[in-house]
């Protein structure tokens, strides 16, 4: 009896390690593959296909990219960094202010304002009316603001922040108010410094959203000067997709030079770049933020 119990426990542990190990590898493997192809020689890849170990290790692809389309990529990098920084800062300001206001229980119309926010999650006008309004009234076609403004306020992130602000004891605010502080001052001097985890988590979510966005560019931007990094990668890949589907006759395809395999993967790595470097530092806080946020909800 005792032995069989031990055996079943061991089996559970064995399965747990195997499952998690395999899943972990499944998540990591594609990245290593991408990295190693980008560091391989093009000739080897064409001959023997993709492989996890760099074949004929070389930095030539990266050199090639920066010599040939370095300007393009740097420009797109600039666009992405600009929208990520401005967008995240703006979004944090807009979101944290309303989240703070709605966390104050003496604010009489806070439920009504929360309803205005909630309704937009539940019901929307759809893509086309939104697009028409953005292009015709706000002039967002080929405008860098199109990559920033539409996603500057997320109702989900606002509610996440509100739960944090609500957990701050109101007596702290009362004391500050007796000393004559305005709500704006309380927000800036007390609420924000006390919610570092929330600020960090939500800030990262916005930053990630801006860094990874290419949909707004697909819809609003034709001007190559304003292509963000992700959209630049998308245009490279979608050419490849169309040709490898066999739809374009080989005669027509001959005129278009496909980017080499190694180039595609190198551009992918360049696109992920900063995320790879920041990930180890950022991950811990992110997990912490999501966990505390989820528990409080």
């Amino acid at each position: 009896m005792r032995r069989s119990k031990l055996f079943s426990d061991r089996l559970v542990i064995l399965i747990a390690y195997t499952f998690l190990g395999l899943f972990g590898i499944m998540c990591l493997y594609p990245l290593i593959l991408t990295l190693s192809v980008s560091l391989s020689a093009e000739k080897e890849i064409v001959k023997s296909g993709y492989s996890v170990i760099p074949q004929d290790f070389t930095f030539n692809t990266y050199l090639y990219i920066f010599v040939n389309s370095g300007k393009r990529i740097l420009r797109s990098y600039g666009v992405t960094i600009f929208i990520t920084m401005v967008g995240t800062l703006g979004a944090m300001l807009v979101t944290s202010m309303i989240a703070f206001a709605l966390s104050i229980k003496t604010l009489r119309y806070r439920n009504f304002i929360a309803f205005i926010c909630n309704f937009t999650i539940v019901f929307s006008a759809g893509l086309i009316p939104w697009y028409v309004v953005c292009v015709n009234y706000y002039g967002l076609k080929n405008n860098i603001l199109a990559l920033i403004l539409p996603s500057i306020f997320s109702v989900w992130n606002m509610f996440l922040m509100r739960t944090y602000f609500s957990s701050i004891s109101p007596s702290l605010y009362e004391a500050a108010k007796i000393d004559g502080a305005s709500y704006l001052r309380i927000y800036w001097r007390i609420a924000i410094p006390l919610s570092k985890t929330a600020i960090l988590t939500v800030g990262l979510m916005y930053a990630l959203q801006y860094w990874n966005d290419w949909w707004y560019a697909l819809i609003f931007i034709n001007n190559k000067e304003l292509f963000p990094l992700q959209y630049y990668l998308y245009t490279i890949l979608s050419n490849v997709n169309a040709i490898s589907s066999g739809r374009i006759p080989s005669g027509a395809a001959a005129g278009i030079t496909l980017p080499a395999e190694t180039v595609k993967m190198a551009v992918t790595i360049i696109t992920i770049g900063p995320v790879i470097f920041l990930y180890p530092i950022v991950q811990k806080y992110f997990v912490q933020g999501i966990m505390t946020g989820a528990v409080k909800e």
Partner: protein, 321 residues
């Protein structure tokens, strides 16, 4: 006399309310001003576009504008469900991909969380968790590039594998039948690490004494998983599932376009309502595309309401929103 009295009474309340309203705005002026930027964004990008939904009932042309174009009633909606359009097909694709995503989104993240709970090695935990969480940080375009690395006919990993077993390589990007599966798998790959964290957060609040008591009573690990952990995870699972059910009519535009692009060979299999709206906007006109979007929003509204009701029933009055 009596009625006049009560009428007066009602009026004073009204005036008081108006005064109250102004007073409240003045008293908390700072706080209301802090709400203003967010509200302006919502009005600009969510509420003003509602006026444009009128296009769904017209045959829109640029010259006459939104409200001057000829009224056609429900014709646009009728066309969507007629046999000559892709209406049923894209609705089916959307529901099928999302339904499979919901099922996998339950099984895999819960398994990950439960298994993490059972293992001891801290190093292993940290390492595998950071691997699993990483895909969440990648954009769909990058995921698309990775998928290309696996399924490219000439150099892809899968065809290499097939060749090494002596099998015939497959032209993946010309075969629509595989792509629903590939997309569902990709979505699972990207989100599982993230969702498992939410389940782990729920687990962190479990009472350790329960587990000790079960151990004393002679329950083995499997029994503890089946009769303690899983039942205690159920509320979280129900809420998360209801949330995704509420959004089952919404396809992930970024996912489909990031992975497949506008490859017309595959579009029959993977076009969802959202990508269809984008495509028809350019081919069949704004009115028709608006009608599809409106149909999607209405279905979404109905489902969210149902999901919210069920959540309230299940959670003793606490809904999703």
């Amino acid at each position: 006399m009596k009625s006049k009295n009560s009428h007066n009474f009602g009026q004073t309340i009204k005036i008081d309310r108006k005064k109250d309203f102004v007073k409240e705005l003045k008293r908390n002026r700072g706080l209301y001003l802090m709400c203003l930027p967010a509200l302006i964004v919502l009005i600009m990008f969510c509420y003003i576009p509602f006026t444009g939904t009128w296009m769904a009932f017209t045959d829109f042309n640029v010259v006459d504008g939104i409200f001057g174009s000829p009224f056609v009633g429900l014709d646009n909606f009728k066309y969507f469900f007629s046999t000559s359009s892709m209406g049923w097909k894209v609705t089916y694709n959307t529901l099928f991909i999302n339904f499979c995503g919901i099922i996998l989104g339950l099984i895999i993240p819960i398994s990950i969380a439960v298994f993490f709970n059972e293992i001891q090695s801290k190093v292993f935990k940290k390492l595998t968790q950071s691997f699993m969480f990483f895909p969440y940080f990648l954009s769909w375009v990058v995921v698309g590039a990775i998928i290309y690395g696996f399924f490219s006919s000439d150099v892809g990993v899968i065809n290499n594998l097939l060749r090494s077993f002596g099998l015939e390589p497959i032209k993946w990007y010309a075969e629509p039948k595989y792509w629903k599966g590939i997309i569902i798998f990709a979505s699972m790959w990207k989100w599982s690490g993230y969702s498992s964290i939410i389940y782990m957060a729920a687990m962190a609040s479990f009472d350790g004494a329960l587990y000790e008591a079960a151990e004393v009573d002679g329950a083995n690990k499997l029994q503890r998983i089946l009769f303690l952990t899983l039942p205690m995870l159920k509320p979280t699972a129900v809420v998360l599932t209801l949330m995704s059910v509420g959004r089952i009519f919404y396809g992930d535009f970024g996912m489909i376009y990031g992975i497949v692009g506008n490859n017309p060979v595959l579009s029959d299999a993977v076009t969802v309502i959202d990508t269809y709206v984008y495509q028809t906007m350019r081919t069949l006109g704004f009115s028709y595309a608006t009608a599809i979007g409106l149909f999607q929003s209405l279905m979404g509204l109905i489902l969210v309401t149902i999901a919210n009701r069920s959540a309230k029933k299940y959670n003793d009055g606490e809904g999703l929103f």
